[in-house]
């Protein structure tokens, strides 16, 4: 169970990394092709735009799991451990509440958009609700992670920034 969860979270990070890698290649091909006169791929700009929210919403649960989201924990480090733990737990509860709201409204926005049949019509034509799908998925995973932190108290260990 623990291993499966680790794989799921790590998988989110890998997926986000791969999205970025693919888009780098696409944009490079586009600019090279255009400048050597092979024509351009106007859809590349749009794909790279939509890849940003995709990569971000994929990375968010993995980053929370690794405790890498930027946070100001200066107050927690100067308070007595017991008090700090209480505050941290309260922050986790708020985190879960935030996630529930985003999951619920995310699903509703998708449902509304489907019902209206809204389409995005640029170079690429596709249903608008596709762009909202990562939101409820991301926040559902985040909610699970906040609950896990609450139960294990793992949030109190201050995370380190950077890429190591």
């Amino acid at each position: 169970m623990k291993r499966a969860y680790h794989l799921l979270m790590h998988g989110c990070g890998v997926a986000s990394a791969l999205v970025i890698g693919v888009v780098v290649l696409l944009v490079t091909c586009d600019v090279v092709a255009r400048n050597v006169g092979l024509g351009s791929f106007p859809w590349v700009v749009e794909v790279s735009e939509y890849s940003l929210p995709l990569a971000t919403f994929l990375a968010a649960p993995w980053l929370l799991y690794k405790n890498e989201h930027v946070r100001v924990d200066i107050l927690l480090t100067v308070l007595p451990v017991g008090v700090a733990r209480q505050i941290d737990r309260a922050a986790d509860v708020i985190g879960v509440a935030v996630c529930v709201v985003f999951v619920w409204y995310g699903i509703r926005v998708i449902a509304d958009s489907m019902q209206l049949g809204s389409m995005i019509i640029k170079t690429l034509v596709f249903p608008e609700w596709w762009t909202f799908v990562p939101v409820p998925v991301c926040f559902a995973l985040l909610a699970v992670e906040f609950v896990r932190r609450m139960l294990t108290g793992s949030g109190i260990v201050s995370g380190q920034l950077g890429s190591q």
Partner: protein, 441 residues
Amino acid sequence: MTWYAASLLLFGCLAVAFATGMPAAFSFFAINIVGAYQYLGGDAGLAQLVRNGVVSITNFSLTPIPFFILMGEVLFHTGVAMKAIDAIERLIRRVPGRLAVVAVVAGTVFSAISGSTIATTAMLGSLMLPEMLRRGYHPNMAMGPIMAIGGVDMLIPPSALTVLLGSLAGISISHLLVGGILPGLVLAAIFVAYIVVRAKANPALAPAFNEEKDQVSGWERWRPLIAYVVPLTLIFAVVIGAMAAGWATPTESAALGAVATVVVAALYRSLKLSSLMKALLGTAAISGVILFIIVGATTFAQILAFSGATNGLVAAVREASFGSWGVLLGMMLILLVLGCFIDQVSMMLLTLPFFMPLVQHYGFEPIWFGVLYLIAMQLGLLTPPFGLLLFTMKSVAPKHITIGQVYRAATPYVIFGLLMLVIVLLFPPLANWLPRVLLEK
């Protein structure tokens, strides 16, 4: 509700949320939910919150951010950085505080490849700091220059945060990127001068030493520079050149730069699939953190506008007779204070909605203002308690180094940063001369 009550409420709640140690992005989300319900129309406001979140980062002008970060990560994880440091070390000899000077020079070269201050600081910190401490360098002399030059990375293009500033403030991204070059280089030169003077006055801070590889001369001394440093500066030339010549947008030149970095690593036979994956994961992590905060903070800025807080505050500043210099200094002061407590992305999203109308009203030159903003923000990376690079340094430094030592090491360089801010304030061409020459033909 009056505008000041609204702003007090919104900023007050945000400050409390930040203080609980909740991740910055979630602090914004929590306040946004309440604010959207109150000011954006109840139920419909909350649906709007979700839409805004997606729209805020579906933006072509933000795509250089992960690409610029990838360049630095590739450099770091493939070991190309180590070879470049070694090459620079061979050249710089018989200088007081030699390794600290090497760190600043290497950091300047890396700044021209890496778009992430965190990547540059972590890179130099993990590669050079252990060696410096082993040779008896004082922690201040060892850590200070590394953090300082890491901060300068934000000024020297490519820079992820500069892209974000340009995008959010509506200032030309390519002009801003080029505008940071001169102030960045001048700062690096000031750092070198300071290190040399300090080490000369007190040799115990940075013991001199001789090594076999210092004895090499002639071609052997220069060859590594040509093999390992010149190609890196060529990447920089590609990124800036493609932009200046109008061949590529900032996004496209960032992608070109990222691919060029990978190609260079492959030519050195340093590229392994595992190191490339590490670099991509590091990129996903740093850009994920930045972009997720944007998701939260963009809506916060909109709610501020809807509550009347933005207009109220801007009007109040305009009506008060501070004069244009007073307002400008006030803005810089706000950035410096905010920089002590919150991260750079949140800072931009909180202040720009207020600052940009004032910039227009008083007719400040946008590139000049943008560069001033960057310098002030860069100082926030080094000011305690919440300087991002201080934490980065702490995380890569040996265990016995305390956060207090890290703070002390950064102090002189914060003062130089302030000095730079004053210089650019008084002498705008330092910021906007180069972009004019390079980009406006």
